[in-house]
């Protein structure tokens, strides 16, 4: 695949920059890296990385940019995002190509990911004339009580390989509108799309005269760069997407300095299928949720909880459908299942299947690496389904691969208990035609996840709602609804415009 150089910064000494602070690109003081495409294991490019020290430089530049950016009216900040959105629309094919190259997604999903960026731009532009605070009825005469939301400061974004553009876009577009510069530590797997994203911001910023370019920076690098970001008090918010152990680390590091973090960690997403479900729709949703992005979405379906009366039929149906799934090089027309990100993922999948069998599971289909029909250097696997007699230990952990556990339930309460009986809490779904079941599932004693869908799969959220999860998923919310509040600081002001000084709660002090 030819690199779409027109959306990328220039190389220096044959190497893409590892550090981008506004318009200033540098190799970065860290070691160079040579990420490999999941498609065929070929090196995509040589890229520099940032050292922890470089991270500090980026944050310092962001802090300086912040002092200007916070004074730019929010609708002007929205204008920047609107222009970014237009540039992204124009370059959607090239940007999607990089997502395919570095993350291995099929083009439809890669384009879908970039479309999320476009969508969140539209949303954030609208937001830029809102950012609503409240005026509140004060208990004291001639007093006003008011809450304002003000820019927070530099935001550190740590993202993972599987949504190499959208996660940053969610944070970045909203953060920019909120008045915050963004310092981004992407996955080492996906440096090029990161640089391209940054380029879009730079180009939009260059078309306006009141945007400090340093509102965007990228620090490529390994875990130590992320750690440097988490430790630095200049990063007023650290928004981290990735594994649960990574999240724990970030939470403790940021907690120790009493900073703010926004965590989107692992899911172990379940779907309940009840007897009244529209089976045709359910199967389509299961397949997209379980094998889309080769099972490597944080919202991928991992646990299918089916009523015992329809479990056998469901198993048969899924086996039949899985048997026909086109697996292979994602750039090939018609392919739906691309590669795993790399060997470790493949091993984890194999191990999990082995454990599942040990714990009583029956492998219904899949699990093997493709021997032919796909590029050799990539890890292409047949999506697997394992029917489990119970929700055993292996089912309680997230395996980041197209591995689906099939469980049975008898009563609806049992289905809910199974569903909620894992430590993660990101996405969930029910397929049912019954309004009571539907409402119970989204009710106070229903799914304990951040996302709880009805007759919609677990993956593929719209940007208008708040995205994120509970329990070990980390509790953060990104994208729509009131997620923007996390990117701002709130002041509550009582304003006395009278000539008296009454105290709250009617206290009389010394008169």
């Amino acid at each position: 695949m030819d690199l779409p150089l027109n959306v990328l910064p220039a190389k220096t000494d044959g190497r893409f920059p590892g550090l981008a602070i506004g318009t200033s690109y540098a190799a970065g003081a860290g070691p160079a890296i040579q990420p490999k495409s999941p498609i065929d294991g070929a090196v995509t490019a040589e890229v520099g990385t940032a050292s922890p020290d470089d991270v500090g430089k980026a944050l310092e530049a962001a802090q300086q940019a912040f002092l200007k950016w916070r004074a730019v009216p929010a609708p002007r900040r929205g204008e920047l995002v609107r222009r970014i959105g237009n540039l992204v629309r124009e370059n959607i094919d090239d940007l999607a190509k990089l997502v395919t190259l570095e993350a291995g997604k099929i083009p439809a999903e890669a384009q879908g990911e970039i479309q999320e960026w476009v969508d969140v731009c539209d949303f954030a532009v609208g937001l830029s004339r809102q950012l609503y605070g409240l005026t509140i009825a004060s208990e004291r005469p001639e007093h006003e009580l008011v809450e304002n939301w003000r820019p927070l400061g530099p935001v550190g974004v740590i993202s993972a390989f599987n949504f190499p553009a959208a996660v940053w876009a969610w944070n970045g577009m909203v953060g920019l509108v909120c008045g915050d510069p963004i310092v981004w530590k992407p996955s080492e797997q996906t440096p090029l799309i990161s640089l391209a994203c940054h380029e879009m911001v730079l180009r939009a910023a260059a078309s306006m005269d009141d945007v400090p370019a340093d509102v965007s920076s990228v620090v490529l690098g390994a875990a130590d760069a992320g750690q440097a970001l988490a430790e630095d008090p200049r990063a007023k918010l650290v928004s981290a997407t990735g594994s649960i152990p990574m999240g724990r680390k970030v939470a403790q590091t940021v907690g120790a300095r009493l900073g703010r973090c926004l965590l989107e960690l692992g899911g172990n997403n379940g779907m309940i299928v009840t007897p009244s479900a529209d089976m045709e729709m359910a199967v389509r949703a299961i397949v997209f949720s379980a094998v889309g992005t080769c099972g490597q979405r944080c919202t991928s379906l991992r646990r299918l909880i089916v009523h015992k009366n329809i479990a056998n039929a469901m198993a048969e149906r899924l086996k039949k459908t899985y048997a026909t799934l086109p697996i292979g090089d994602p750039t090939k027309e018609g392919v739906l299942v691309g590669p795993l990100v790399g060997e470790a993922a493949y091993k984890q999948m194999r191990d999990s299947i082995a454990q599942a069998k040990d714990q009583g599971g029956e492998l219904l289909c899949g699990g093997d690496r493709l021997e032919s029909g796909a590029p050799e250097g990539g890890f292409y696997v047949e999506p697997a389904i394992v029917r489990m007699p119970a929700q055993t230990e292996v089912v309680l952990t997230e395996t980041f691969a197209p591995l689906l556990y099939l469980l049975e339930y008898e009563t609806f309460d049992e289905a809910i208990d199974l569903h909620n009986g894992v430590p993660q809490g990101l996405s969930s779904a029910i397929f049912t035609g019954d309004m009571r079941e539907a409402m119970r599932f989204i009710g106070p004693a229903g799914s304990d996840c951040g996302l709880a869908n009805v007759n919609v799969g677990t993956s593929g959220a719209e940007i208008g709602g708040a995205f994120g999860g509970e329990k070990e998923t980390g509790g953060g919310r990104e994208s729509g609804s009131d997620s923007w509040k996390q990117y701002m600081r709130r002041t509550t002001s009582t304003i006395n415009h009278g000539a008296e000084l009454p105290l709250a709660q009617g206290i009389v002090f010394g008169e």
Copy 2:
């Protein structure tokens, strides 16, 4: 002072219980304590304490209560809080008496604290028919997108001696309405008022037939009880009020288990007084903010930043006013300044004054312990003012006592820089007659605190606004506005009621 036994549970073996789980009182497995009243150093009562193990019991009971409580409609939960409010109104004198006894507050302030409880009851009752989620426009035909807020689970509350009832009331009344049982670890200094608070809940609960009594529990104890609360995953939210070091500990502990916390930590609250200020009002506000509760509010005024043209006049005026402050036994009519909580606080104040002098400060007045005119066992001090040539190190830390630093500024920008130049970010104020200064102070480049008042002192917030602060203050928000959201979990649901299964972002998968 006679104990108001009618608001307290019975003693067993001469000792008040250290563990209260709903209606079940026990000594607790921890060692007995003998807290002393700040008024005279006399032991107020012998009280049991809970062991870390007891904390687990309380949380387990809370979890069981939660399963029932979350299914009780919110307006019914509001009815519980309404009845609590009525009981508190009826018993306000006795409850205030305990606050005075254990925390040393003058009656006006003790009553004010209880009044906050009453106010937050009214607010929470109204909230119980709101708890508004959103319906959102979906991008897909025949889909609904909706956010619901559901009960979260047991809430652990850790509170400090200086607001021994109100902080719990803020968390508890809102938490109860949100469907969450409350497990409270109060200060060891103030066990009796804690037990009385719990009693009010029990009595209100007993008057209804659908309230599990275990929605309230109290675990008296030392730091290890608090630590047990912070560690336990059953405490879905840990709301902690107290010192910054304590907060760091809680943030890390809760972060390690990816739990949720709400921190209200130290302030180092400043007030800017500009030349156009109404001096009469400013002085009144300064005095109440700086010496009220003997300078032991988290919102107490600690730094006074005065324009250089009026600094001398202000210094004189304050000295004169301070000289007339009635200090002494808070139960005595007319007294405005009661005791410090104990010897350690007194030593810290003395040390800070000494350091301030070393760092160039001039002691304008105060700082001595009263030699006569106050009960002997208490630590009664003359509120102090130290005029500082610059914002030196000692000024950057919070001294929990009536010690006010006076600083000068020349330009408004300088005033803001001084003001924001400390690591804490709770409360702040400006006194000015100038609308530009007023607006700049509460604007994006103004005060970086959670509370930013105009012509109102730093202390004494109304319950209708969100209360809390930024930076090392910890970022939590309690009481009014949308603070309730922290006590609930949010689900975002996409509901498909059509016969098609369109994917978000217009993705086409395999058709």
Copy 3:
């Protein structure tokens, strides 16, 4: 029935006052009236009435009270409402008794009506610390954009006999909290409960020192009093509940002076029952909705739209249930169906049944006046069901009596068309177990009513939601949600605190 004199003002010359302006009661310059109880047609009391001129006096007093009341902080206004709520709780039996006497409701429903008042008090108290306006991101540097909600002025309330207390309470409790005095023109049928309601306000007001008593007044009288209220520009809002012709009149009158009105007019409420409905629940809901308050609620069920496959079964079941309904003196234990309000209502019911038969309907049951077993002077009828072959003309109009039309449908679209094919748009319901039908019913192409319930009858709304309807129902919304905004005026303020004067939309004018 003995009058509960303790909740009523004193008589003068054997007559209850017809004009109450705050604490000042007078006979009123209109003719005396002698309303009759629907129970037995006996005169309940002799009562004065207000002349149009008296209405002007009440409005003038309200306007003067407004100038003070608007300056009282909203939470204090909430305290008034809280105290009213407590008085209502204490006097609920006596207040309900008056509702029964004057409107003929059975005690359970009369108490339910008073309970609505209690509920709306709780809600309004909470509201009194909210009344949230917005702060908005301005497009200009150093500008703030903010919306505040301020008290509006006197509110005229016109209410009908069937909810003689609750409608006023909805308007009044919210209006008072919003800072508006209330001038009430109740139905001539129900003067006593009106006076009692006013008394509760007076007594609560008397317990506070900052409430001008003239925030409440009652002008008993006929249509000319209502007309005077509608015409007077001092009535900043006219909230009118009643018939559609009355509403048209009010809308035109208030429109001519460019005033604001809030209309709650007739409904012609329908329920769809689909094959998957829980029949047991559906029947219970139908019966309560259709015969509760003897079919004289604005939300009473008038049209039952049943799938053809279950229509016969439904008809049989309803006939059986209707046959056992206890009809008679509402004060008698066990009675569920009390009297019509008077002879005109009875005639209208009879006429409608006759027309329905003419238009092809089959009378399934009911329609006769009771010959025995009920007080003679009252109009007690057997609730009627008429099965209609189509939605003919008579079905398109509201008959304010327990007359239910039964219609059949074949496809769901047909059901919706039938449902929406009437000019009124207040309340509606569906009974179904099917989540798609449920969601379609409440969706954009579903019920066009203000209230659209699922597995809940058409009548009996909670106070937390906005209550009201579309089309000829008049479009107003009362009670919960954001209904309060109608009782306030909004100001949008742009505040410039900089030294420049930039124009919106970037206009440059003469520089």
Copy 4:
């Protein structure tokens, strides 16, 4: 001036169409009109008009389009508006040219008007993923309470000559996003810009495959076309901007059919200037507000209320500034004051000045028609200032011309009384440096207008706030904030997903 034909539809028989229903253009059954440009009185074009019958056709087409449009997801509706916005950006010069030609605005203001359209597009696009309803805590177990906002139906827009594009854009862009087709009756003075606006919608609609073109139509015509629109029940909302008498008519007509209207009528806008005001800024704001658009904005400044100590100085200063105002052909570089719309306006101005003198006023400057230096056929006047001894009758009415009354005040209360002492309530401003005055002005006892600015003139609102006014201004709100709710219908739904049927208010009926 050459007509920018590329933004206009084709002529037929030498005439522009008078009726545009989606893509279908027709002459219209009304008489042809020949509007004259205010610039020189020359006929701009011959244009057809619609008959009342044509209005019915447009509404019928709109109603049919509505049935499709309401089912298109709101974010897709937003996409239409986004594309409209882009087309407007591309054609801003041509569109502004038409505004100048037909309304006589100077190019800066004409562009500013089109920019408002662009801005409201951005806002509405964001809104298209919001349109937030509420989920509400229900008082019944296993019940959900929810409010949804659904498309309303065809919206009739009646607009005036002075904002020939923006007023429609405010209504139209928000209405389209809300799911409502728009039927527009513009001023007879400005048919061409109306047709061009419609063209932009058509072209954007043509670029999408799910937009029924009939969501937009234009019915040119006289008052009878507007009346037909107001009367027709298919126009679910009538949004009318114009004179107070027109508004009264619309309010009564729409009221008679119990429809919904949104009125933006006359203003009589005042500004208070206090001694602490920044005089330089105040003068600039006064001049732009009073003479911008030749005093023909609904928000034009008409009453200047100045503290007596600075009144003389202000008068001198304004006279000096007015003397230098470049008046004349608006297309000429540097001109700030263009023509009045026509002779009637000129006569009204002259008459008002005469009356003002009769009522004691002193003409400080202006009032004469330009004898030279401007195109002959236009009505160019010198902006006038009349100093009034009191707020006499002529001051109480709106003269739609650059005529400013100067009044003095002594106390701040007096200033407010003067300010509020007129029947209109649109826009208002204060210039002051005093924060108490600023806050009082926007407070509950301050300005009674819908817009109340501080150190910002009366005209030139941002689109993010709600725009509109109180009293005879009609009470409607357009553009930002929650104005969109007027374009939708709300349903409040109670959803029972349990197996019980509890009644609200705890009523027990027959069990």
